[in-house]
Symmetry: C2
Subunit: 259 residues, 2 copies
DNA sequence: AATAGGCGTTGCACTGCTTGCAACGGGAGG
DNA sequence: CCTCCCGTTGCAAGCAGTGCAACGCCTATT
């Protein structure tokens, strides 16, 4: 639609494969050197490309800045919607989406079992930290210093017979969650409800949200609840992909031994 | 220089702060809606932006693709050059840059203490894995499976009295390196030389190279060598930034408690 | 159910931005 | 000192990009 923009974007894509000279680039888009030069200059002024030496251009830092900022900005709720809705349609059970923010766990989406509609009014509601599966998943990913700070400020009011009522047990529970990759609420919040939750990860592997399903005990016993786990984790993985997650282990090069 | 491209790039930068509608975007660059629409369509055809719902645009996956590909393409040697040259000028000691590739550690750059010239002829030379600081730094970051494979194939010829001569001690040494964030070669390779090395990290926190400084024992005793560590680590950090590294801890959200 | 408003979309004519050309300049190599 | 190779600049012409106004779809309102 826009010729010059189209050419410029082609140049950027070309530069992603490695540094190139002006000549090489002008040949790629089949324009005169001077034309390519002007496009590159504009790209350069926005830090999309930068010069390398005098004869080469390469991608600039704006690409990394923008890509990272955009990843953080990506609306988890929207990204996860498709996967969560599908799980909800498949199983018929209630689905919650929650995220951690400043010491609190907040529900940011919900799909009800009977009416699969978004309850906008509930968005922003805080989840109890000590007795919900989503909170366990989210807190389990916090750095130790921040986790300690949060736990120090927590209270452990017993809500059911199963509620965890002290920090030490809670930290041990988070260890289990970390190792298992999922969390449960075994009727720790309400007597007649139990839940499982799994983490949704972003591009750097960090946990950006948690998805849970809540089932009345009259519909499913605890084993039946756990049987939902594979499907829930697949759902979480699908949502993770939408959030920019890729399989690569952050901080370590992917093992090449199993190719 | 190129008006339409300039506007398009401004739009992209704007979208990095979050999804926007056509109106908002056209107001940002002060053009008619239809003009913005055409720019966005071109950007969309290159997957630089994508629609979110019907009323919003957000950055597309090409940004992430390109940014990641470019990061891998970035020449570590070139990126690290400035920082390494500065360290070399400051201290006067020999500086090595090395990277890991397929079970081997390879010197990819060197700044000599007397003649700060690039020894192109030495590029590609392999470093012994069991007795060099750079190898320790690079192997310490490998995934366990690959590390085991590499160590299984290693030999431990004693070169000095200090050389590590068995796999078990070597793995223990790597644990120390991992914990400390740096490695030493305490005259394990040559009797009269000792070295310290630090990791250079890329955008995802992965170790892309190692920088070391080698000092004759007649010039500096072991404590004197360790005194170089802060400067060397600052150098490694500067080089890391050039390689796209940002402070964020991968896999964990950055602690906000200390702001 | 009908209406109004908001927003994205399209076709068209005009303007001015983009383009290619040719000449210039600086650095490298002989 | 000359030559070659690039990147760079000024200019004129043409066409691509732009703004306008009208259209259509969807949502909200009464």
């Amino acid at each position: 639609m826009s010729q010059s923009l189209d050419r410029a974007l082609t140049l950027v894509a070309e530069l992603a494969t490695g540094p190139k000279t002006l000549d090489e680039l002008s040949r790629v888009v089949e324009v005169h050197k001077s034309t390519a030069l002007r496009l590159l200059r504009t790209l350069e002024s926005h830090r999309f490309v930068q010069r390398e030496g005098v004869h080469h251009y390469r991608l600039g830092t704006a690409m990394f800045d923008l890509a990272n900022r955009a990843l953080e900005e990506r609306d988890v709720r929207r990204s996860a919607e498709r996967a969560l809705r599908a799980f909800n349609a498949r199983t018929g059970y209630t689905v919650h989406l929650a995220s951690y923010e400043d010491g609190e766990v907040i529900y940011i989406d919900k799909y009800d079992s009977t009416h699969p509609m978004r309850m906008y009014s509930r968005i922003g509601r805080r989840a109890p930290l000590h007795c919900t599966a989503v909170a366990k998943v989210l807190l389990a990913d916090l750095p130790d210093t921040e986790l300690r700070r949060v736990v120090d400020g927590m209270e452990f009011p017993p809500l059911t017979a199963n509620t965890i009522t002290d920090a030490e047990s809670y930290l041990a529970e988070l260890e289990r969650v970390r190792a298992a990759g999922y969390a449960v609420d075994n009727s720790e919040h309400e007597d007649f409800i139990h839940c499982v939750a799994a983490p949704i990860r972003g591009a750097r592997g960090e946990v950006v949200a948690a998805v849970s399903t809540s089932v009345p005990k009259v519909l499913l016993d605890f084993d039946g609840l756990l049987a939902l786990l594979p499907d829930l984790q697949a759902t979480a993985r699908a949502a993770s992909v939408e959030c920019g997650w890729t399989d690569a282990q952050p901080g370590r090069t992917p093992a090449r031994g199993q190719d």
